[in-house]
């Protein structure tokens, strides 16, 4: 009893230490965002005067609302398109029988190894050629096809009993009906997981928007914040206020989708 108690205490102590290390930077960020400018270089993390007005300042100094809107809009479209294209491809890999299926799937998997910078330059050149530089389409479409998403949803779909499709096929349903009415509803946790990951990844996506955007009104949050930091870098309080606001959507998504995420990460890696 005593030994077990000590052991539990030790576990809590170590975890508290890790949690504190994780949290302190976030707390510092939040506190600094409320400091007056004169106070940001003071070592006392507690604001002398609380300045909630900093948050309004961010919106008046840069078109922050625009950046927000762009990021959410682009990430939303990419998520929708990625889920549709990945789910359809995953269905073909997990539920249909066709010659060469496993070879094509292996090719898909192998491309997960290709560094992003290899495809970056030709994709950029293609966008220039199609005159899609500096457009929403140019930022959305190339990001909407995911080998990882196909892989993840295939893993989910493999866990659904095959007898269900067979039964509907015998009832005369088309493959499309099997997809929309049988497999997709049962793969819902996988679809939600993929949607969360895709939204998050593209909300935070930095390199592609950076090379694609030339005009200010198309800037996404990460690109806009980089410019904000470059131009007004001394206003640490405002930069921190912008950072806090940029973290709100991921945090909400995190709270809402927690149980899906854990399972999704695990299924994306285990054998299937």
């Amino acid at each position: 009893m005593n030994l077990r108690f000590h052991r539990a205490m030790l576990v809590y102590l170590l975890l508290l230490l890790a949690a504190a290390t994780t949290l302190v930077p976030f707390v510092w960020m939040a506190l600094t965002s409320f400091k007056p400018l004169a106070d940001v270089e003071s070592i006392n993390p507690w604001p002398k005067v609380w300045m909630p007005d900093n948050y309004a300042q961010v919106f008046s100094q840069i078109p922050f609302a625009r950046y927000y809107l762009n990021s959410v809009l682009i990430a939303g479209w990419v998520t929708f398109l990625t889920v549709v294209t990945s789910a359809m491809a995953a269905f073909a890999f997990a539920r249909l029988e066709w010659p060469g299926r496993n070879h094509v799937f292996r090719l898909y998997l192998a491309t997960l190894m290709v560094p992003g910078v290899v495809t970056l330059i030709p994709s950029f050149a293609l966008m220039v050629h199609l005159r899609l530089l500096d457009t929403y389409t140019g930022m959305i479409v190339p990001a909407s096809f995911s080998a990882f998403g196909t892989f993840l949803l295939r893993q989910f779909m493999l866990t659904i009993p095959k007898a269900l499709d067979e039964a509907s096929l015998i009832d005369g349903a088309s493959s499309w009906r099997v997809f929309t009415d049988v497999v997709l509803p049962l793969a819902r946790p996988g679809v939600i997981t993929l949607a969360i990951f895709t939204f998050l990844g593209n909300y935070g996506s930095f390199l592609w928007p950076l090379v694609m955007v030339k005009s200010g009104h198309l800037r996404t949050l990460p690109v806009g914040m980089l410019f904000f930091d470059g131009m007004y870098g001394r206003q640490t309080n405002l930069i921190m206020a912008a950072s806090v606001m940029s973290l709100v959507p991921p945090m909400l998504l995190f709270i809402a989708g927690q149980k899906y995420l854990v399972r999704g990460i695990q299924l994306g890696a285990v054998k299937g």
Binding site: R7, A8, V11, L14, L15, A18, T22, P25, F26, W28, T32, E41, V84, M88, A89, A92, L96, E97, W98, R101, V104, R106, L109, T111, M113, V114, P115, G116, V117, V118, T119, L120, I121, P122, S123, L126, P142, F145, K162, E166, I170, S174, S175, F179, G204, F206, L207, L210, M225, L226, D229, A242, S243, P250, F254, I265, Q266, A269, V270, K271
Partner: protein, 342 residues
Amino acid sequence: MSPARDSTLAAKTRVAIGERPPRRRKRNDLIPALLFLLPNLFGFALFTVGPVGFSLLASFTDWNLTQPKVRWVALENFGGMLGNHAFWVYLVNTLYFMLGMPIAIVGSLALALLLNQKARGLVAFRTLLYLPSFTAGVALMILWKALYNPDFGPINYAIGAALDLLGLARDVSLPQWLNATQNMLGIDPETVRFSRAQVGLGARDALLWMGVWTAVGGGNMLLYLAALANVPEELTEAAELDGAGSWAKFRSVVWPQLAPTTFFIVVMSCIGGFQGGFDQARIMTNGGPAGTTTTLAFHIYQKAFEEFQMGYASAVSWALFALVFLVTVANWRFGNRAGDWE
């Protein structure tokens, strides 16, 4: 995977009601499969396979956005790259950042072991620890830039306070973090050899430890947690009956069971590590000071989008690809004893 045939529920029903099985034994859904694959294949061809081939071709040319003519230069780009001292420095930088990998992996495992204990309220900790990797990105890097500020940042303040507390003389100067070329291994930025003057904490370490902080409670920790939940209880109980202590139990029972997970994590970390470092360099250091935080990925970006040397940049990106490929194959050959996850 075995083709689902007469063992299915539908087939059994058919037998039960005396219906004849369908004539076609083996299904061939080639046409619907192609239609289902079409949207994804379109994007896959246009934005993955096509670009990979195109970039290989481009790497043999002097393609430059500022010049109208493109010439075939054969292996000139690759020769120039290998003869360029800076390329090797950037490779070393990339490898230096990868030193954070084993630290983060051990940290993830340690946290997973803690979270796997039988005690109340541990799920709350799991959620909390996952926060940095979930919010990773530009905002957090801007935050860390402020934290590392050598004069006003809380990190140096904490180090100073700790030194005072220990009663150590304050003649040691505090680390200059993002402004300094010093590093834990004392690598000279020019010669890439050990130099005593370069021993210290500088930009490379700042980025390395930030990376560890971000990754340690992330996906790898969750993977280890899942793997720990799958360790058969009979095995750990048997070890306990044999009188094994905690460490012996971990060493001889738990660790071998975790091998496939560890293998997966190492492979994925290597793939990520070689192509990493772009965001950090662009947001926090611009690759400096003295090029110490320029990784291969950032080098490619600079060559392509700041100097417009697309041909040369393509060659470096293919060198990076080759490196990733070789390391993955090596991992597979020498590490894949128990793991197989395809």
